[in-house]
């Protein structure tokens, strides 16, 4: 029995017990969610800083599975300033995408739940806490104020509808009084904006008639249809070739300055981050391990994970005999250790690392790291 447990196997009885306990928690949360006519005062909140478009504050998003509770996002705090691009990097499974899905309330419910924390969204004259907002209310903001560019342009489009119809759906939903002709005009305008030359033709096409790069442009056009203030780009270029990637990045940069929105850019490609982002957030196993401006992170990476990540990527023009590879693997998300999550893979451990998970240490006003190596070097007065 003990042997099996260490390898992550569960007996049916144990699994049933877990499922029962989960159901209790989920039912409570779902009951709260499903109330009708939630007063606005319940999710009205104030921003800590008016210059931020989005503030994630101690966000916890858990998935209640029959094998145990997966803490996908476990206390994530960072801000997206107005008109800036924030890059989020990390390995697959570190909670990057779940963080963005929490902001859109697109989590797989009822298993996926925001159990703690706030996501404050700045609407200009007021601020809403997305974590507490009812689903129907968010429908008005989603696509309109916050929108998302998905990773797979192949699966993000519906194969049985024409491109024009799919783009018009977004416009129709958010602009009730728009006429059919105006909608078509706007759709063609959008297609031209993302650099599709044959916009009239593409309007009538089906997704399978387009190449990967073109499809990604359509997905971007769809996300930008209502001039959103916050754009979440979830690995928008991972599935594309370098030359097409360069085109899409150029396009996003141009559009950002045109409509002055904030972008949350999720990727695992450090090169893309360096090029696109103003601020960088490095995530590991559901937590933010380091954040700062792009210059700070790339010139002076502080957390051992960030340093390892930079060293393991081959760079054109730099010849090394052997690439650095971070030893070990990410801890099991169901059974996280109670010390620093990176300790078992870290080659720079100090004595304190056996203690509790390290708190956030400020190296400068913007550069923050969660690592005991810096506990003595805190910037004075912060």
């Amino acid at each position: 029995m003990a042997k099996n447990k260490s390898e992550g196997y569960l007996s049916a009885k144990e699994s049933r017990q877990i499922a029962k306990a989960n159901r209790k928690v989920i039912n409570d949360l779902e009951k709260k969610r499903k109330r009708k006519k939630v007063p606005e005062s319940e999710y009205l909140t104030t921003m800590h800083d008016d210059k931020n478009a989005v503030e994630f504050d101690n966000l916890h998003t858990y998935f209640f599975t029959d094998a145990g509770v997966v803490k996908s996002v476990d206390g994530v705090t960072f801000e997206v300033p107005v008109g800036k691009t924030v890059g989020v990097v990390g390995e697959s499974g570190c909670g990057k995408s779940v963080t963005s899905l929490s902001l859109m309330q697109l989590l797989q419910r009822p298993q996926g739940q925001i159990v703690e924390g706030e996501i404050r969204l700045n609407l200009g004259d007021k601020a809403y806490d997305i974590a507490k907002m009812p689903y129907e209310k968010l429908q008005d903001l989603r696509g309109n104020f916050v929108s998302m560019i998905f990773q797979e342009p192949m699966t993000a489009l519906n194969p049985v509808f024409r491109i024009g119809a799919q783009l018009e759906e977004v416009l129709e939903l958010h602009n009730k009084d728009m006429s059919k002709d105006d909608m078509k005009k706007r759709t063609i305008e959008l297609l031209e904006m993302v650099g599709i030359a044959n916009s009239e033709g593409v309007y009538k096409m089906f997704p399978h008639e387009l190449s990967g790069g073109m499809r990604q442009r359509v997905v971007i056009a769809m996300a930008l249809a209502c001039n959103p203030k916050v754009i979440i780009a979830d690995e928008p270029t991972t599935a594309l070739d370098v030359t097409i990637q360069a085109q899409v990045l150029d396009l996003l940069r141009g559009l950002k300055s045109k409509i002055n929105s904030s972008i949350m850019f999720i990727t695992h490609d450090l090169g893309v981050i360096a090029e696109m982002a103003d601020y960088v957030v490095v995530m590991y196993a559901g937590r933010v391990v380091e954040k700062g401006t792009t210059e700070e992170i790339f010139e002076n990476p502080a957390h051992p994970y960030t340093i390892g990540l930079m060293a393991s990527k081959p760079v054109v023009g730099k010849q090394v005999d052997e690439l650095y590879s971070i030893p070990g693997k990410v801890p099991n998300p169901i059974d996280m250790p109670n010390y620093c999550y990176f300790k078992d893979r870290c080659n720079m451990c100090v004595g304190q690392c056996d203690g509790a998970y390290p708190g956030e240490i400020s190296l400068s006003d913007t550069h923050k790291v969660s690592c005991y190596r810096y506990s003595g070097n805190e910037k004075k007065g912060v």
């Binding site: 190449s211 073109m214 360069a246 085109q247 990045l249 054109v316 590879s325």
Partner: protein, 328 residues
């Protein structure tokens, strides 16, 4: 026709592979997709050749055609250790299969979900009678150990492994046959950065130990620069530039190579971008442009490029390019 030179393990001359487009009532061929349209290169023993290019340019088909995995070739020659691969009988081909192996791109779909790992790795070894029955188990253990897998993994099934470990299983499967030449078809594209580094290091150390020859297909130029000795750049079924890695990266000649290299994102926020953005997308290989196939997207296009196809010429020692710009 090329004559065999023993220093090269693989000699590919004007290799062509066309796929028919079937249409109409009787499903007869109405056109051809020229996936590989005249590729020529020689590969020295114990070295790595990187093959880069956009998706759909024929990189993978080149790899598969060399291994005789996609039916008959349309034209050209493939000499492996001096023997024409396509002239071998079924029996001879079967024996040769152990010498040339392939590692596929997607470690999730290239492993049978119904076989335990030991069987996946050992199946071909038993089939080819490479080791005696008594030694079989030990042999599989050694191969797995070389690839960084534990012996107790043998009884497990592929779904129990992470992406990086699955790619190790694929590598072990190829290595178990003791091959001389391995086609690596985007072996790290589906993996995370930190896992990528582990797999690349593994491939490099195995090459040193066993004097392996790789054909490394990838669209990630930084990985290709790291692992390859020579690099070939493909565009629409043609090898447009070919040479030593240092030469190609230091001094790219073909306009397509230049554009490709300028599109690599550099992980340094202060790096200056002098990007050559290619307009449009890769033309259809069923109906390639006349003359130089790249002329529709080329910034230096002249009238001559539209009419006359350029031929391969050696610009500096061992650095070949197919472009009218370098005509003397």
């Amino acid at each position: 026709m090329v004559t065999y030179d023993p220093q090269y393990i693989l000699m590919v001359d004007e290799l062509k592979k066309y796929f028919p487009i079937k249409g109409g009532m009787m499903s007869k061929a109405v056109g051809q997709v020229k996936a590989v349209d005249g590729v020529t290169f020689n590969l020295k023993r114990g070295t790595t050749m990187g093959l880069v290019g956009e998706s759909g340019c024929g990189k993978t088909t080149t790899g598969r055609t060399i291994l005789r995995l996609s039916g008959e070739k349309t034209g050209g020659q493939v000499l492996f250790n001096g023997k024409e691969v396509y002239d071998l009988s079924k029996k001879e081909m079967r024996a040769l299969r152990t010498k040339m192996q392939i590692i596929f791109q997607d470690p999730f779909s290239s492993l049978s979900p119904r076989l335990p790992v030991g069987e996946i790795i050992g199946e071909a070894v038993r089939e080819h009678d490479l080791v005696s029955k008594a030694e079989f188990n030990d042999y599989i253990d050694t191969v797995m150990d070389e690839c960084g897998l534990q012996p107790f993994h043998k009884a497990r099934y592929p779904h129990e492994f992470s992406g990086g470990q699955r790619q190790r299983i694929c590598i072990a499967r190829a290595l178990a046959l003791n091959p001389e030449f391995i086609v690596c078809d985007e072996p790290v594209s589906a993996l995370d950065v930190s896992i990528q580094a582990q797999i690349i290091n593994l491939l490099k150390s195995l090459q040193r130990q066993r004097n392996l020859t790789y054909l490394f297909i990838s669209h990630d130029l930084s990985v290709v620069e790291h692992i390859s000795d020579v690099v070939g750049v493909m565009y629409l079924g043609n090898l447009v530039e070919y040479g030593r890695t240092e030469d190609i990266f230091r001094n790219p000649l073909h306009p397509y190579t230049k554009a490709l290299f300028s599109a690599i994102p550099i992980p340094d926020p202060k790096a200056k971008m002098n990007r050559i953005v290619l307009e449009g997308t890769i033309p259809s290989p069923a109906n390639p442009p006349s003359g130089c196939k790249f002329h529709t997207r080329c910034a230096n296009c002249t009238q001559r490029c539209k009419e006359e196809a350029p031929v391969q010429r050696e610009v500096e020692d061992g650095h070949y390019v197919v472009c009218h710009l370098y005509d003397k």
